[in-house]
């Protein structure tokens, strides 16, 4: 689910500050991460307060919670709901700082523990999908560059369709194909590497479509660049030119998208984990939303925001590694 849905627009180039040293850059970015987390926490805090009705009841799962007065009273005490808003807010931040995300009513356990149990599975799935998506996008690009006009048209058509396929539909098609017809992959998650293949593929295909579309555009530009002519003129073969020169250029905007891609994968996990009955935050989040487990929802959202922000940082680092121009050249 392509999130940005918004469109793959590489932004790293525009935001890059011209030439601070690596240390300073890292420090600045780390400061940015802290800021984003604080702001995210603030937003979730006030989002919680926007829920109509008694916040204590909301924490216990809304009007259907059947929470007794004692339970409500306890929650009020625990969250300081009888205090002024500012005090509540500071208490909330203080608890977050110590890693306390509150208690999940639906799971009968601390939110932090619940997230800890599920986080690894989602991270593994997201990373597998990301790698798979990159592999698919690159392979398709390589094939369609070499295969001439027809391959190019087929390649871009495939990417287009891939990017337009909803996860839940794709999952069904893949299960029908690989599990029920071919019988080579399990339709639900099983322990071991085999179990992650279909879920990862489900998330990777639409993402590969997006990455491919972005890459294709920059691939065209790169292929028409004079340095490609230079490379040809020194006798490089087309294959080498693709892997050594053009792919790298084409990848820059797409790498810039990887942070975004990671976010969209987390979104996708909500659907995919449910369909394939995988462990993970996405499934927790969905059931938390369905059960209106507000503390769990906000906890997950915050943790994902953290992961996402860190991921963006990593992407920026990767981007700087691929494209060192950002450091060297001032405009």
């Amino acid at each position: 689910m392509a999130g940005a849905l918004t469109l793959p627009v590489p932004t790293t180039g525009a935001r890059r500050s011209p030439a601070p040293g690596n240390r300073r850059w890292l420090l600045l970015r780390a400061g940015g991460v802290v800021f984003v987390l604080w702001a995210a926490a603030t937003i979730t805090f006030f989002a919680l307060r926007l829920i109509p009705g008694d916040p204590a009841e909301a924490i216990l799962g809304g009007p259907g919670s059947q929470a007794g007065p004692e339970a409500l009273e306890q929650v009020r005490r625990e969250y300081g709901l009888d205090q002024p808003l500012l005090v509540q807010y500071l208490t909330y931040l203080g608890r977050l700082a110590t890693g306390d995300l509150g208690q999940s009513y639906s799971l009968h356990k601390p939110v932090a523990t619940a997230i800890g149990e599920q986080f690894g599975a989602t991270l593994a799935l997201a990373l597998c999908s990301l790698v798979l998506a990159w592999a698919l996008a690159c392979a398709l690009a390589a094939w369609s560059v070499r295969g001439g006009r027809v391959a190019w048209a087929i390649g871009s058509g495939l990417e287009l369709v891939a990017a337009a396929v909803p996860h839940f539909w794709l999952a069904t098609v893949l299960i029908l194909l690989f599990s029920l017809t071919l019988g080579i992959l399990p339709p639900v998650s099983v322990p071991g590497p085999l179990g992650i293949v279909l879920p990862a593929l489900t998330m990777a295909i639409p993402l590969a479509g997006f990455l491919g579309q972005v890459m294709r555009e920059s691939l065209l530009t790169a292929m028409e660049s004079p340095f490609v002519t230079t490379a040809r003129a020194r006798g490089e073969s087309e294959v080498r030119i693709f892997w050594r020169h053009t792919l790298r250029h084409a990848a820059i905007p797409a790498v810039g998208l990887s942070g975004w891609a990671f976010g969209s994968l987390i979104s996708g996990a909500v659907v995919v984990e449910s369909v394939f009955a995988r462990q993970g935050l996405g499934r927790s989040l969905l059931s938390a939303v369905q059960l209106r487990d507000v503390t769990l929802v906000t906890g997950i959202v915050l943790v994902v925001a953290l992961a996402y922000t860190v991921m963006t940082l990593v992407t920026d680092l990767a981007d700087r590694a691929i494209d060192p121009r950002g450091r060297a050249v001032t405009e």
Binding site: P63, G64, L107, S179, P187, V188, A277, L291
Partner: protein, 550 residues
């Protein structure tokens, strides 16, 4: 009715189990994997549940059906039922009731220990009752079942006396339910979080590990010694372990069964049940739940259904039969009773539910809903005949939701505007608590006809402090109340049957409910799975005697 209890596969399983019991005796317990089905020990069976993953594996806490399903594998009750619905010994060997019906004495087995080594004794029973009744446990189903127990006295190590506040003819049926099954008193002393993660019982399996949102692993209780009196087979259990998975997506679940990732699935979709019939590798197990039938309750506590004519008009206007036929592919039979077909005391009155749209129209005209607006809905005093129908997406299977859509379409022809509101469980409870509904379908599983008291006694209209109430039709009938109280107190079987029949007649003839079918409880199993049977108590499958053909 008994024929319904023995659906084909289960009957076959019982026969097979019996055959192999004989074989086992004659051959001295040796097992050899013959095609005729001699039990084979070992193996891991994967069960895929479509229900929501319980937040607590201890069915005392809360107490819903998904909990019952899994807890049946590791917890056992004082008594059980046999296939005819007769109460039979389990952890209790015999029992006596005092003449006033206020004191019950149970003799307990003296050779049973919990899997944590704690012996099963009178103190354990007392601790369990106390646990269920402790408000901190937040038990709801179990709490209602044991509501009349005032005190538990350990007469000696293996004799326990229950003292009641009022006679309870349903006590034994209540005690047979897994929601009040026996857990190790030592384990109960742990924190609720710990006890929820791994309750300790006396059952054939032990909770080994719980990977949230993935699976619960159950391993064999090697010291298992306490099958219910009707269990057949020796050397139980056969399986090494059970992986209890949660696969909410029905298509994925069925695919898992087809591909062999799962051996048994629950909540089977009607179309897959039908197509499984032609598939030799998949067998069906149908185990309708006891208690109430699935029915639509008409909220008589609120306009427009406070007018019986409007209720009758609605019931006469909608065609449920065709929908059930097409949506359930013949896997569900239409019910005309408030009680499940497995309840021997159920009363069916099909004539009350024949579709008659003309009669419905007349009734509505008579009730004053005699105009129609531009969209064809009936109007009275400028108000449209609108019915709110909150649907719990957690509790209604897709076919049922489709049925509601069809009812909506039928009702529209008659001039009712039915607004379906699919809601998550919490919002659904909220809508009920705020009396924001005219129609609702809420399953209720309980062993025995006493469920009628919970569902239709006027006391159940009063919301509990939590806001929940069971009498969703809001039936407020003094005569009915009286009948239900009497029925629950009498120990005379004939009188009890008569009282319940009269009670059901009032409910049906008052047009408070539109019965649909039994609570659907279809399981599909791979044909490699043998010896699977449903407990005659709350129809949960037990894997105690199950084994996997190699």
């Amino acid at each position: 009715m008994p024929s319904r209890r023995f659906s084909r596969p289960r009957a076959a399983a019982v026969v097979a189990a019996a055959a192999l019991f004989l074989a086992a005796c004659s051959s001295g317990g040796g097992t050899s994997g013959e095609a005729t089905g001699e039990p084979v020990s070992g193996g891991t069976l994967t069960y895929a549940s479509g229900d929501a993953e319980p937040s607590c594996l201890d069915p005392h806490v809360g107490g819903n059906y998904p909990q019952a399903l899994i807890a049946t594998q590791y917890l056992e009750s004082l008594v059980s039922l046999d296939d005819d619905g007769e109460v039979i010994p389990w952890l209790a060997t015999e029992w006596t009731e005092s003449n006033d019906g206020l004191t019950w004495e149970f003799s307990l087995r003296d050779d049973v220990t919990f899997t944590d080594g704690t012996p099963f004794d009178a103190e354990a029973v007392a601790a369990n009752v106390a646990h269920v009744q402790d408000p901190a446990t937040a038990s709801s189903t179990g709490y209602l079942a044991l509501a009349k127990i005032k005190d538990v006295v350990a007469v000696d190590d293996h004799t326990v006396r229950l003292e009641l506040s009022a006679p309870d003819s349903a006590l034994l049926e209540s005690l047979s339910q897994v929601w009040v099954a026996m857990e190790s008193p030592k384990a109960l002393e742990r924190s609720q979080e710990d006890n929820c993660a791994a309750p300790v019982g006396t059952g054939p399996f032990v909770v080994d590990q719980w990977e949230r949102q993935d699976s619960v692993t159950l391993v064999r209780n090697d010291d298992y010694s306490s099958p219910p009196a009707d269990a057949e087979g020796a050397g139980l259990p056969y399986l090494d372990s059970i992986v209890w998975r949660f696969i909410p997506d029905s298509a994925s679940r069925y695919a898992a069964l087809q591909s062999g990732e799962a051996h048994v699935i629950d909540n089977a979709q009607p179309d897959t049940i039908r197509s499984a019939e032609s598939d030799d590798s998949i067998e069906e197990l149908d185990a309708p739940r006891p208690g109430a039938a699935n029915r639509i309750e008409l909220n008589s506590g609120k306009a427009p259904f406070d007018d019986e004519r409007v209720r009758e008009a609605f019931i006469r206007a909608v065609n449920v039969d065709d929908g059930i036929q097409s949506l359930f592919f013949g896997t569900a039979e239409r019910s005309y009773s408030p009680l499940s077909s497995v309840e021997p005391l159920g009363l069916s009155l099909p004539d009350l539910f024949t579709v008659d749209t003309d009669a419905a129209a007349d009734l509505l005209d008579e009730a004053g809903w005699d105009e129609r607006d531009a969209e064809g809905y009936r109007v009275k005093d400028g108000k449209r005949l609108t019915l709110d129908f909150p649907v719990s997406t957690n509790q209604s299977i897709p076919a049922e939701q489709s049925l509601f859509e069809q009812i909506q379409a039928d009702a529209k022809t008659a001039g009712f505007e039915v607004n379906l509101h699919p809601l998550d469980l919490s919002s659904w409870y909220g809508a009920l608590a705020q009396n924001d509904y005219n129609l609702v379908s809420a399953p209720y599983t309980k062993v025995g006809p006493d469920v009628l008291r919970i569902l239709y006694h006027s006391a159940s209209i009063e919301p509990a402090p939590s806001g929940y109430f069971a009498n969703l039709a809001q039936v407020d009938d003094a005569e009915l109340d009286e009948l239900l109280i009497q029925a629950s107190s009498t120990s005379d079987a004939g009188e009890r049957a008569d009282l319940y029949e009269r009670a059901q007649r009032i409910i049906l003839e008052g047009h408070y409910i539109l019965p649909l079918y039994d609570q659907q409880n279809h399981f599909l199993r791979s044909s490699t799975v043998h010896g699977l049977r449903a407990m005659p108590t709350v129809s949960t499958p037990t894997f105690a005697g199950a084994w996997l053909a190699p």
